[in-house]
Every structure is written in C-alpha cells, then in structure tokens.
Symmetry: C2
Subunit: 343 residues, 2 copies
DNA sequence: GTTAGCACTCGCCCATTTGGAGTGCTAATA
DNA sequence: TATTAGCACTCCAAATGGGCGAGTGCTAAC
C-alpha cells in the first residue's frame, strides 16, 4: 500500500493532535480538525490503512489512535525536510559570556530546561583533539607540585603531583620552559613516545617529573575521570504522566544522575553526519535503555576547528519537536557566536 | 500523664517494629514482640495513653499505630543518649585518598548512598576561614592572565583575568612575588582594605591588576557561585513508597538538583553545637519544605582548625537511624584521619 | 491492675454495573 | 468507485456494593 498525499495529511493531523492533547485521537476529531471535508467514516478507513502500515496504533480496541515510533519518525523527518521551524521563539534568550566554559554550559543547560520544559544535558567540548595553550608547574610546598594545564577555549585543569624529593626553583623554572616549548600548541594525539623520551632526556635526572607531568596533562586533557556533562531540569519529566510512573521516572532520573553514562551516550552518538548535526532518536532508537519511552534530540556544536560537544534534550515521545529543534539550533548559533566572534 | 518505664518500653517496641515492617503495628504484635508478658488488651490501654500523649497515632480508625514525629524524636533522643550504635557496620569501608577534595567527597557521597540506601549530600569544606597557600599568576596570551589560587586542603580555584594592556614577563613575576609575600598564609577575612591599598601602592601603575587579582581571590575562595555540594543516590527515595508518589518525589529530586538550595540548608544548620556535631531533623523539623516527610541527619566534619563541611543523609522518617548515625560518625572519623594524619 | 470476650469500625479487595468514546462493517448514496 | 450514514459491538474507566480481616474500644470478670 502506498502513503498517498491524503494519508500523509491525515497522519500529520493525528500526530499533531496527539502532541497537543496527549490523548488517543479518534476519527471524528480528525474529521473536524482538518480542512479535508471528509466524514469520520472515511477517516476511519484511512486510519485503518495507516495502522496496517504501522504508522499508528490503538492502545486498545475501541480507542483512538496514537502514533507509533514509525509515525513519529515520519513526522520528524518531514519536519526536518521542510525546514518549517520556529526559530524565533528562543532567539533572544540572553546568554552572558562566562569566563569559564563550565559556567557557560551550566547556565545554557538550565536555560534550555526552563524554556523547553524537558530535561537537558550538555557535554563540555571534548578536548581530545584540543590544543594545549599553556602549562604551568609551581611548587605548592616541599612535597607537592601544582600542574595547571590550559587548553584551547580556556579549559583549565589542575592536578597535584607528589614529589619524592625537593626541587629548586631553578629546576621548576627549567621544567616549565621545557614543557611549554615542547608541548605548546600541540594536540594530545600529537604527543608521542619519541617526543616524551626526548623531553625526558633533556630533563636529565628529573625525567620522572616529566613522566608525572605528562600523566597529569593526559589526565587533565582526557575527560574520562571527570565526565563534564551538565544536566538540568531532570525533574521536568514528572510533568509527563507517561514518564512519571515509578519505574520509568526512577530509571530516567538515575540516568541523569550518572554523568558517566551520559557522557558515553552523548559522545558515541554525536556527529555521525557533519551536514546534519541535529539528530532525533525516537523511542527504541534512543541510545539508552532507560530512555526507551522518550525521544532524545541531540545537537553537535563546534568551537573552532577541533573542539566539539553535544547538547541533548530528553522528553516524552510527544515532545514539541519543532520547538526543541529550533531551540537547539539557536544554541548552536549562540555558542558559535560567543567563541568564534570573527567567524 | 507520665511516660513511665513500661510505656517507654512499649513505645520503643512500636517504633522498632514499625521501622522494620513499615506497617502500622497492632497491640497483639507488641504483646508477642516484647518480653513484658502482657496481654494485647493491656497493651491496647497503654497504646491509647501513648496516643493521647501524642507519641503515636492511627492512620485511620481500626488500624495499628505508627509513630508521630514526637515519637520518633523520643526514639532518636534515647538512642543518642544510650550511645547504642552499630559502629562496626561501615568501619571497613574503603576510601582512597584523592588528590582533589572534590573527588574524595564525590566518592564518599556515593559510598554512603550505596551503603545506606538513602540520598546523601556532602558540602565541601567552607573555605571562608581558609588560609591561602599559594597564588600564581601566569600569562595565557596577550589579553588574558590566569590566576590560580591554592588554599589549605588543596582546594584549587582558577580564574581568568582580562587585560587591557600587555604585561611583560618581568611585571608578572613581580606581581606574583608581591601577591604571595603579602597574602600567603592569610585567611580571606584577614585581607583588609589597608592591606589592599598597600599592595596597590607597591604595584604602582599596575594597581588595577592587583584589584582584579584580589577580586579573583575573593571569588575563588568564596564559594557562593560554585555551591560545591555533591549528592548521590537521590533515586534511592523511590525505594520508599511513602516518598515516591509523584509530588513528593518530584519535590525531593528537585531539591537535590538545586545545589544552591542544598548549600543554604546545609550551611545554615551545621554546627550549632560543637559537642554534638550530629543532628537529626524529623519530619516538620526538616530544614526544607520539600523534606517535610523525611528525616534528615547531618554531621559536621572538621579538617584542621578552620575548615568545616557537612554531610547529610535524607531518607524516610522510618530510616535506620542507628545505622545512619554510625555511618556518619565513621565518615567523620575517616575524613579526620585522611587530612590530619598527625592528630 | 490485668485479662478475656465481643461488638464495631474501617480500609482493602473483588466482582459487577454503567456510561461513553470509538471502532468496524454494511448498505445506501453521489 | 469513493464517500457517507447508521448501527452493533468492544473495551476502558469510573462508580457501586458486599465480604473479609485486622485491630480497636469497652465492659465485665478475675
């Protein structure tokens, strides 16, 4: 059977109506809702066809229809195609530029959550291809060396290195210069074994310190230990009855509490497609089992050439896709403006 | 009416039984539960008295009794008095010393949550009376100066200072020395206006930088903008039916999401009593409206002389107080051991 | 002061009923 | 041939009502 134009219109009408009301929609409703001038009986026939094709289904006999995952997929795809967005809604959200990435992302997450009424998460730009801007070693006290690493985008990481022996100021200064001249401007992948042994050679008897510093840099730049995902509005899910029963809510909130889980999800899925940085996952497509009754919309943002992160919004399947997608597009744009003022 | 010895025994029995089962407890149960050798009829009379006195009540006529807030209060107080704890349970929880306070507290929070099955929160030691260990200014690029502040307990804070003009290495070095000689070892309160103007004087034309640095130090050491409360196991509340209905759960989870709220709560209430660092808040006593159906147990811990923070556990009123209190005591001890190995 | 006995209350569970929304099918219509 | 009106049917959800059991309060006897 084919999905002809009229079926499409009816399907759209069913979905749109369901998004508004959250109730199964019946044939009579559609008959009045659309300007097709068809009786409910005709609609019923068409709806039976649509059900057979798998776009909609009945939660039980003699109830109205609700969209299946396939139905949502059709709806979202056709929306993405038609570029029928509501850009305006969020355009004048105010975002202050913050010194620290962290604060910026936190405030963006809570802004998005407040405006969409869904749960949001933002991953900090992955630094793994990120260039080192600056390394600073300084003595805190006799046994401890502070290592500060600044990467592009003012991502700052600290770590403390324990010393087995005391170092003179002079040696620390030397090490500083050595580290910076060797590693400045490099991405973490570019630091290879050859370079490390060359540096160790130059450091002479202090080669162990170089080892520690490189560990520290690696640890600082790698974000495994510090997932760096900011979430907001997890409690919004209680606004949607279909998600707020005990089991589902608990699993969802749990997922939001477990930043590590989120990082994996967000990293794995981001940016499969450079042309289409916005991805929509519906129901079972969702990357986490806990979210199988939700839809997840993610947007990959880029800062400069090498840094990218992901913004994700999690809500019920019957979320306002148009609003969410345009909100994400605005956010992408804002991030771009803030960090690439020249571009 | 007086709370004689027998009434106390019966009240204890009622409460203990309710803690175990979560069901209203009837007179027959108590008659068998205790070794008082009293018939259920007698118990009924006594329970009627206890109800009149406000220690217990019936959720509805012809149901067993459950403890009121006043009843719990009696139970907790007599437990605290008798020092009848179960220290052993958690004693050998393994806590690795972490370089960073943050990681340590996070892992402690999740450990506590996992072991108690309640929700936990830990506030980082308030740094407001904390001594500065070390300040480091370094140039990131032409327009930005990185200011790293290390305080006692290896609390590290960064901030970026925007520059209006370029500074030479020499000047930065000078400023570094100036800042460290002036402020090292000081608590933030000890930095007064006189000192600031003296420093500005010494900095000459660069007095504006000194101003910025002091702002940065203040901002770094003050923790207002970064509440620094770590939570774990918020989803544990779903394990307790009396807390997991939609409204309550949503309010509670919300409270746990809002770190700022938690900070206020935790700071306001901590350490009223130096002798009794462990406080129990039952039901309406709880410091947050969202927690009015919960009990909250807090413990104030001290690191060194000036730093203190709070650990809090939130659970249903019928929580295992003995276990929670001893767990908190163990945590206090561990923190003490880790950071004051000499004492 | 304690206990046995008994009537009573009330929440909970279950089966049954009722009403309404919505369907599928069929026959009539344009 | 496509559309529509009509009707019987299905099923959910909410309301109704009776039986069960746990537990109480009271009274009278010990």
């Amino acid at each position: 059977m084919e999905l002809d134009e009229r079926k499409k219109v009816i399907l759209q009408a069913v979905i749109r109506n369901y998004l508004e009301t959250g109730e199964p929609v019946g044939s009579r409703t559609i008959s009045k809702y659309t300007d097709l001038k068809l009786s409910s009986a005709t609609i019923r026939n068409e709806m039976a066809d649509l059900e057979e094709m798998g776009y909609i289904f009945q939660p039980h006999t003699s109830a109205g229809r609700i969209p299946s995952d396939k139905g949502y997929r059709f709806y979202v795809d056709s929306m993405l195609e038609s570029k029928d967005r509501r850009f305006d809604e969020m355009k004048d959200m105010l975002i202050e530029r913050q010194d620290k990435m962290e604060d910026l992302l936190k405030s963006m997450a809570s802004l998005l959550a407040a405006n969409t009424e869904y749960a949001t998460m933002i991953s900090a730009p992955a630094a793994h291809r990120n260039k080192l801007k600056f390394i600073q070693l300084s003595r805190v006290d006799a046994e401890q060396l502070l290592c500060v690493v600044v990467a592009e985008g003012n991502v700052i990481k600290n770590s403390i290195i324990k010393l087995e022996r005391e170092l003179t100021d002079e040696i620390i200064l030397k090490l500083n210069i050595l580290m910076n001249t060797c590693m400045n401007g490099l991405a973490i992948e570019e630091i290879n074994l050859a370079m490390i042994s060359r540096m160790k050679e130059q450091a002479g008897i202090h080669e162990d310190i170089v080892g520690s510093v490189i560990d520290a840099v690696a640890q600082a730049v790698r974000s495994d230990d510090d997932p760096a995902v900011y979430t907001s509005g997890a409690t919004n899910i209680f606004k949607y009855p279909e998600l707020s029963d005990n089991i589902r809510a608990s699993q969802l909130i749990n997922a939001f509490e477990d930043k590590k889980l989120l990082t994996d999800l967000i990293d794995e899925k981001s940016g499969d497609d450079k042309e289409n940085p916005i991805q929509v996952y519906i129901g079972e497509e969702a990357p986490l089992q806990a979210m199988k009754d939700c839809s997840v919309v993610t947007a990959t943002y880029r800062l400069g050439d090498d840094m990218k992160g992901t913004i994700g919004i999690v809500g019920p399947k019957r979320m306002d896709y148009a609003k969410v997608i345009s909100a994400l597009e605005v956010m992408q744009q804002k991030l771009d403006d803030l960090y690439n003022p020249g571009g």
